[in-house]
């Protein structure tokens, strides 16, 4: 359940921004979570609701945008789509893959008052 620690990280970023910008309320928060980031969106939502309860972001909507997983296949020498870790290269069927995208976990935007 590392989503709890991640949700606390999100809250820290939101509260820092709120302090800096003098915000009274945060209505929504957008996250970009990579397909290969090992984050369970439903757990993330649950934890976000729990940690923001008594904060400036209490009751805020959480929008999670999934970004696609991508890998470099050293056999094909080409970037390929990778839906899950442990999947084979869609071109050659091999596993000589280096993940190059889809592991990001970022706060990208907020709707604020």
């Amino acid at each position: 359940m590392h989503e709890m620690a991640l949700a606390e990280g999100v809250l820290r970023i939101v509260e820092d921004a709120a302090r800096r910008e003098g915000l009274s309320r945060v209505r929504a928060v957008w996250l970009e979570i990579g397909q290969l980031a090992s984050v369970e969106p439903e757990a993330m939502r649950f934890c976000f609701d729990a940690v923001t309860k008594d904060s400036v972001a209490a009751g805020a909507r959480l929008e999670i945008i999934a970004t696609a997983g991508a890998a470099w296949c050293t056999q094909c020498s080409t970037p390929v789509a990778l839906a899950a870790l442990g999947d084979a290269c869609p071109k050659c069927g091999g596993y000589r893959l280096q993940v190059i995208g889809g592991t990001e976990m970022r706060v990208t935007e907020m709707e604020v008052e």
Binding site: M1, R12, A17, Y95, M105
Partner: protein, 306 residues
């Protein structure tokens, strides 16, 4: 939770002492938050754009605030600070991860005893509760700090930073961080180590690298522990290694038994090579102790089981 540094002050205990502190009013806090300051965070407003709905008069207008920040930025900043300190002292640091009961502590005890005459080994023990493991390690004479994470399912770089302050590890030594037993959560949290080493015991089944791929992807080495039990198990060794390499083609593999001692010499040699490298690199960033898969395959082949 502390909003300045994010430490879970209510829960985390280091050697049994609560990490309670106050930031307001200039109260001494005992650690430096500079490492946790996120640099390069960009905030740019999209202007006070009215949203696509009408506002009743008197209600504050909503606007969009563009913010580009990694959720783990604070942890990563603390990790970078830890790494800097460790590199400055030429310390080789490993983050041992596994499920509970895979044998991390037993392996550590054997490792410390075998290498004690060549290296000073310090240990940071992570568990939700109890100092049982720290006591087992302390019995070897190694300097040890226990972190109890309370409800936390992993160590983070901030906790490890505090443990390092307390441990004050000597130059050119080895730091072993035994993470909370969990094959999921510790994967995302960089602690400032040189390598993650994942311990998988053969009683757990050969499919674990596929079930918990992130941990195996982020580890440099897989220690397959309890190989003395192989004759009694239906465990497909080749398949397990193939599964680990499906998520991480570079991962090294050494088969060991903390009980019988099989394979341990290869593991000790791997540590010694890394420690000598870190020592020689000194203050320079010694991030990559590259050991190619071919060489690691040999390390495995040399172990008595093959």
């Amino acid at each position: 939770m502390c909003n300045t540094c994010g430490c879970g002050a209510d829960e985390v205990r280091i050697d049994g002492v609560a990490h309670a502190h106050r930031h307001a009013g200039g109260t001494a806090h005992g650690h430096d938050h500079d490492a946790g300051k996120v640099s390069g965070a960009q905030i740019c407003e999209n202007g006070a754009q009215p949203l696509h709905h009408a506002h009743a008069a008197g209600l504050p207008a909503a606007r969009r605030l563009r913010i580009e920040q990694d959720i783990l930025a604070k942890n990563d900043a603390h990790a970078a600070h830890n790494r800097e300190q460790l590199n400055a002292r030429g310390i080789f640091a490993l983050n041992l991860v596994s499920s509970p009961g895979a044998g991390k502590t037993a392996l550590l005890v054997k490792t410390i005893r075998a290498l004690a005459d060549r290296f000073e080994i310090c240990v940071i023990e992570g568990d939700q509760h109890t100092s049982n493991d720290a006591e087992r390690i302390r019995a070897t004479g190694a300097r040890t700090v226990q972190i109890n994470t309370g409800k936390g399912c992993h160590l983070d770089a901030h906790m490890v930073g505090h443990a390092l302050e307390r441990l004050d590890p000597p130059q050119h030594g080895i730091l072993m961080i035994e993470n909370v037993g969990n094959l999921v959560c510790p994967a995302a949290f960089d602690l400032g180590e040189e390598h993650k080493v994942v311990v998988l015991s053969v009683t757990e089944g050969e499919d674990k690298p596929l079930k918990y791929p992130d941990m195996f992807r982020r580890s440099s080495l897989m220690l397959l522990n309890k190989i003395d039990l192989l004759p009694y198990l239906e465990f497909d060794l080749e398949l397990c290694i193939a599964n680990a390499r499906r998520t991480n083609p570079q991962i090294g593999v050494i088969g060991v038994s903390a009980v019988s001692g099989e394979g341990l010499s290869s593991w000790f040699a791997w540590i010694e090579q890394g420690a000598n490298h870190a020592h020689a690199a000194g203050p320079k960033a010694a991030r990559a102790q590259e050991v190619g898969p071919a060489e690691q395959q040999m390390a495995f082949a040399r172990s008595p089981m093959r």
